[in-house]
Every structure is written in structure tokens, then in C-alpha cells.
Subunit: 482 residues, 2 copies
Amino acid sequence: MKKEIGITASRDSDFSEWYLQSVIKAGLADYAPAKGFIVLRPYGYEIWEIIKGILDEKLKNLGHQNGFLPTLIPESLLSKEQDHFAGFMPEVFWVTKAGDNDLAEKLAIRPTSETLAYSMFAKWISSHRDLPLKLNFWNSALRAEIKSTKPFIRNSEFLWQEGHTAHTTEHEADIEVRMILDVYKDLVENYLSIPTMSGYKSEKEKFVGAKYTTCLESLMMDGKSLQMATSHQLGQNFAKPFEIKYLGKDMMEHFVWQTSWGISWRLIGAIIMTHGDDKGLIIPPRIAPIQVVIVPIYKDVNKELVVTAARRLKDILGLDGIRAHLDDRDEYTSGWKFNYWETKGVPLRINLGPRDVENNQLELVRRDTKEKDIVASADAIAEVKSLLSNIQINLFDQAVKRLEEKTNVTSDLNEAKILLETKTGFISTFWCGNRKCEEKIKDETSADIRLIPFEGQDKLEGKLCICCGLSAKSHVILGRAY
Amino acid sequence: MKKEIGITASRDSDFSEWYLQSVIKAGLADYAPAKGFIVLRPYGYEIWEIIKGILDEKLKNLGHQNGFLPTLIPESLLSKEQDHFAGFMPEVFWVTKAGDNDLAEKLAIRPTSETLAYSMFAKWISSHRDLPLKLNFWNSALRAEIKSTKPFIRNSEFLWQEGHTAHTTEHEADIEVRMILDVYKDLVENYLSIPTMSGYKSEKEKFVGAKYTTCLESLMMDGKSLQMATSHQLGQNFAKPFEIKYLGKDMMEHFVWQTSWGISWRLIGAIIMTHGDDKGLIIPPRIAPIQVVIVPIYKDVNKELVVTAARRLKDILGLDGIRAHLDDRDEYTSGWKFNYWETKGVPLRINLGPRDVENNQLELVRRDTKEKDIVASADAIAEVKSLLSNIQINLFDQAVKRLEEKTNVTSDLNEAKILLETKTGFISTFWCGNRKCEEKIKDETSADIRLIPFEGQDKLEGKLCICCGLSAKSHVILGRAY
């Protein structure tokens, strides 16, 4: 167990190594035998289960239902929408054999399930009564990563959810796209304490096969941008090749309008890169598998007294819906335990010694600010709840402050380049809408157009493209991305 | 929607066709584009989510934790335990390409995760402090089915859970194997209302790589046996090739003792084949996504009165934890709705017409016995709860009765053959333990030794093998299996 604690890299000197150690030493994940793949250990999986539980309930309340799609897709089906196939083809794992036998047709391991889902939609939809159809799938997707991999951020397999819906009108599909993005924003900001920017992707960056893509982008501690969620209006791009038609109230046949959208375990990576410190993780209370860890501090002579009180405290907190854990392992010192739970990012720790028990008090230690507080046992529940709520807000506020500090405004490409090098972060600027300019920006600054924000598109008068100097068509946010 | 209702096959004349129609027309599942694969529709997935929720909680209460293992396993890893590899090899889907590139080493899609999990166990276990390690994985497994497939019963991909544990002693692993089988028995009997027989598999039928296998077997309505769950003692068969060792309190290195165990969505197939009737499914209340469906019966003139009352009733039932659904669709007649919900197997229906509303009463219709009852609205909750409980028990009792009727005792192989042909079901008999006799029994009767029951092994004196007539070593249950 000793090997699990103590991160030896600092965020400032080697962010990438610090990140890796944070993941591994907190016991979130580990490298799997096949290159590019990871295994999720229970602590990491619990975070995923909590995120999943929150989102699943929200989606169900909005009328979405879960289903299961198989892992394998025949090549002929995957290639039915041309752009989509061309986009995913380089990353597809192909099954060519079963046992010793060659397959007549190659089977793709799903890189995403649009084609599979929509071949089923064509069977299930025949009347306007069958619409809207709003399905969601919690599964994994596989995309062979050739570039260097990074746990949760870039792997050859990742856990995610993919939603797929069909509607009678374009307008209804537009509304679905934005509603889902709002659900994601609520999840990321109010549960993960990570501020987001929301907007459209450029034509170049949109999902292959979509009419348009909306997204959430967040800024990581090292100044790089991370795509947190996407929600796509697919138009009728899939409905036509897949022949997903319904008989309308007008007794005519129409193609449906579709959306798809997803978030992945990448959100766990974002939590680490937004809130962590040199001791490791700091997990926002609302999604922490353990919100409060109780460390009893005792000698042989007073062990029973202290452990009994600690157990009662854990039960009391648990009854009030607080996820509390008692670390009463005899074989580790309390100092070792402090480090262990800090690395794991438990937001609040309770130290309980014999004197505390005698005085009906306990010591609360915040993971984020390291502040310590002695409170009366009678106030334990109220104090713990209040502190957890404060920590949740403090983490968000810190991240907002960083986002604001690291979002610089400029209309000069050279200045943008220097800002991206020195201050890192986002550049808020303007763009003419021309793909050549988009590519030149990338070449010169290594930054993409991360998004075209929903906000600020009504204030373009007199604004010029950062690249060519012609009239701007869009307010854009540039950033270097994971 | 009309196509969804009305099953045209009867159980007696074509059980297999009746089963298929029951699955498809209830909206549980559908055929996927790749041969041998199915898609789970929301109604089927909800049943799986309920089963999963029940079992997951029980496993967590017993100290098991969930994790995630990747889908792909390098060939060299899968082949590390020889028997295991030889057993699964014919069914393995092989990934040989990523995009356009050939892989240096083939990757197997997991047929089961022992090898993957245990390569990780070797990294995670070093001290007795790390034991027991009790992990569980909710995922899918893929095994290429060459024989004819059957939804939920035999598919090339299936949802399941696989548990993997490591212990310091053989005894502790033995206890885990039996404890898990008890958990499964509780799930199957008390939630799915399906009686089970429990015992050991023969050497020939045990899991490839196990020291021994325990299992639950149930009898389907057509007299065939279905394996419901397995729980394996793996001994040190994997610990040795994977070098899973721990430093004991004695400061010596020891190999761990291991178990693995699983149940799959096959349980959904078992529900259908145990409880269904010629109208389709009958779902035991405790695992029914909809326990009570309310069908309001109205004309235009009294629609508001009836639908308002129906809505209130749904809310009242919901507040009491009853999964109630209101079918207030205008575009279907109530007669159509009765058929629709019968096909879907909803255990209880409430008919609510204008006269019922006026008289403060409602009509309850049981799906299992078709009995109707008029009860006072004030008693609705109590009556619904009592009926749901009665249905749960009645389904179990019916299945027990069938199991008893169809379990015949004989010590004569010819008689066994005739009984299996005419009365179908199980044969309770005795066996010398010799594999040649086991094979001869199979050749002559098409029945396997389904299990060696835990019960009755102490009453072997004077008993003779049904095949060779020599002294019996085991009481066995024969049956023709899915």
C-alpha cells in the first residue's frame, strides 16, 4: 500500500507526470495489458457511477430511455454515411476472425453507434406516433489511438454515454440539442465545479456527419482546453441513407430529424486537471465517493473509546445522507492515513482523538484550503454539511477566477501567439469564417478555434478577423487543446 | 404500433416461435444487423437495470466493489492458462487490424475476463493486507455462436456481471463460492419467482480453468433445463501462471486462492420461459418495470373526469413506491391497450371508467390468473400491494409445482429416456462418477448431468449408477439443456 501515496512530481515543473501520478496513486485507474487501454479501479469507477447516476436521472426525467446496442457493426453498415465512415475509418478496430475462421464481412468495434442505432430506428419508426424517439446508451467506444495516450483523456477505449434521438421537425431537434447541452452544463458546473464555455464548433471541427455541433469547453490548470461534451444536430444526414421515415398526420412520408450527444469519463480527467494540487486529487463533494473520512487517533489504552465514538459519528453522518468512511485500520499510522486520503482527494477529514471524545468535539480539516476547525460534536452534521457546500463553491470560484485570468482578448495574431506561449489559456477574438484563416491560425499559434460562443455574436460590428483583417463573421475562442 | 401486439404462436404447438414472438412483440429486444447479435430495447433494458440494481446492492453489502476492464485482451495473455484458452478459443472474435494497419499481436474481444483481471491482480496484490480482493464487473462478453441463436439464451454478445476474488486460503475461497451462489439463489427465487436446484457441475461440465464449478439450474416450461448462474472455485490454477502472490503474516510468499462467478441477461429469457402464457409475458412484480398499468376508459364527454382521477391514482401509487404507469393515449382504444399491456406482461391492470370514479372504486385485473376485483378507491394502495405480493408468490408456486411434476426418479436408463421424451423435465438418479458413463448417458438420452445436487449426497448406500450399474458415487440430476 505504501507505494500508493506520495506524489513526487509538481504541477509547475511537470504537469503531465503530475497528472499521471495523481491518477495512478489515487487508485483511480491503471494501465491495462493492451497498449493504450486502461483499467478502472473501484475508486475511479465509483466517481463514474456517481456522475452516471446524476446524469441518468436527469435524462430519464426529460423522457429519455436507456437501451443496449451490440459492440460490433458490419462494415457495410458503418460505411452507409460517407463522411462519417471516412472520419472514423483510421481509428476503427476490425474483427476479421472468429475462432480459426475468417469472417465473410469484417466487423467494426463501435467507435460510436450512430449507424447501428439508426438501422434500428428505421425498423422502429413508421408513424408520427413513434416520435420523438429518445434513446440513451451507457457503453464504451473504441478508437485506436496512435498518438500518445493519457488516462481518461485519450485512450483506445473509453466509457461514455451516447444519446440518439429522432424528431418530426428540425426545430424540435434544435431544441433537443440545446437542452442536452444545458443538462451537461449543469452537470459539469454544479456537480463537478468546473466552469464551461458553450457554443458551436466550426465546420472543420464539427462531428463527421453532423449538420452542426455544439460543445462545452473548459480550461485546465495548465492553460490547455478540454472538450467536455458535445451535442450534435444531425439534420437528415443519416435519416436519408438509413431511410428513417414516418407517416405524418398529413398522411405523407417524411424523413426524421436527428440528434446525438455524449459525455465520457474524460470528465474525471477534467476534475483532476481543474482542482488538483501537488498532493494529488481534490474531488468536489457532490461527486466524491467519500465526502468525509474519519481518522481516529488513539493508543492501545484508549482505542476502544475513540473507535467507538468514530463509528457512531460515521453512522450519524451516514443517516443524514453524507458519504462518510471510517479508516480504522490498525496497521497504518494516522500520519500515513492523512497523506493517503489527501492523495485520494477526499474533500473533508475528521480527526478524532481521545481528548476530542472527552470534550465532545472533533477536528475538521478541509482538503482544498487545509484549514482546520474544532467544532462541538453536537454540531457535527451541520458543520460538515456547511463545509462540504463551501468546498463545492470554493472549487468552482477558484476555477472561474483562473478562467477569467487566462482568457485574453486580442485582435492581433502575433500577440495571440505570445499570449498563448507566456500566459497560456484562451484567446477571445474574431474570425471571418474562412477555413483558410482557421488553418493559418492553427499553423501559426498551435491553437484551434475551440468554439464559437453562443454569447457575443451580436456585437460583431466593426470587428475584424484576427488572421486576414476582413470583416468578422464570428466571435471565437482560440486555445490549445488536449 | 399495431404490429407489436398479438402473439400468433401457442406454447404447446411451437414453443420456440412463441418465445421469439414474446420477446419481440413485448418490445424487449430486436435483432441487430450483425448475425447472432441482439439490441435491447428500453423495456428489456429496464428489466435488466432492475435485476442489476438488486444484485449490485447485495454484492456491495458483502464488500464487493465494481470496476471496469477493457474489451480487448492480447492473445499472449488469453493463452496464459492453457485449459482456459483451449476452451474459449473456438468462440473468440479476433481483432487483427486498426484502421488500415495490421496489428503486431492479435487482440481477443473478451469472452470472459479472468486473464485480464488476474494480470491486474498480480500488480495490485503484494501483501496479506491487500486481501481479500473482491471485484465485480458489469459488462458484456462476446462469444461467436455458430449454432442457432436465441435472444437472451444464446447470442454472440450478452450482458452479464463477472465477479473475481482473491483470498488467502482455500477455505475462504470455498466460502465465497457458496455465499455468492446463495445470493444468486435469493435473486432468482425471491425476485424472479423461479425455483432453482443447486449443486456442483461434473468434471466434464465445469468451467475451463476451474477447480470446481457450482451452479443453479432451473426447469423451463417446455421441460428443458437452463443454467441460471455459476460460481467457480479456481483454486490456484490462475494464481500460478499469473504469479499472484502475497507476503503473509508469516513473512513467506504464498499464491492466492481465487473465485469467479456470473449471471447474465439469460435470466430475462428464463422469466419468459417460466411464467409466460399464450398472450405473452408475465413479469414477476418485484422486477417489473411497470407493476401496475392504469387504463382510463372514457368518452369525450367524461374524459377529463376519468383522466384526472387516473392521474391522481398514479401519483398516489407512485408516492408509495409502486411503479405505476398511466396509459392515457387518445389514439388507441381500451381494448387495444388491454392486449398491449398483457403482451408486455404487466402483472396488474387497473381499469377506471366514469362509473368507477363516481362510485369511488376501481377494477383490478391480475395478469396471471385474469381474476378481476372491484375495490374501493380508499383501499387502492393496500389492495394493489397485496395483489402484487400474491402474484409474486403464485408465480413461484406454479413453477415449483411444475418442477416437482416434471422431476422423475428412476434408476433405469431406458425408462429415463422414455420419461425425457414423454413427460420431459429432470431425471433424479445416481451415477458412478465415470466420464464414460456420463458420455453414454448423453448419447442414449440427449440429456446431460445438469448438476450434482448439494442435497442427497449422504444417501448413496445401495444406490447404483443408472448407466453401468456399479456403486453410485453421486446423486445427479439429468436434463436436456438449452
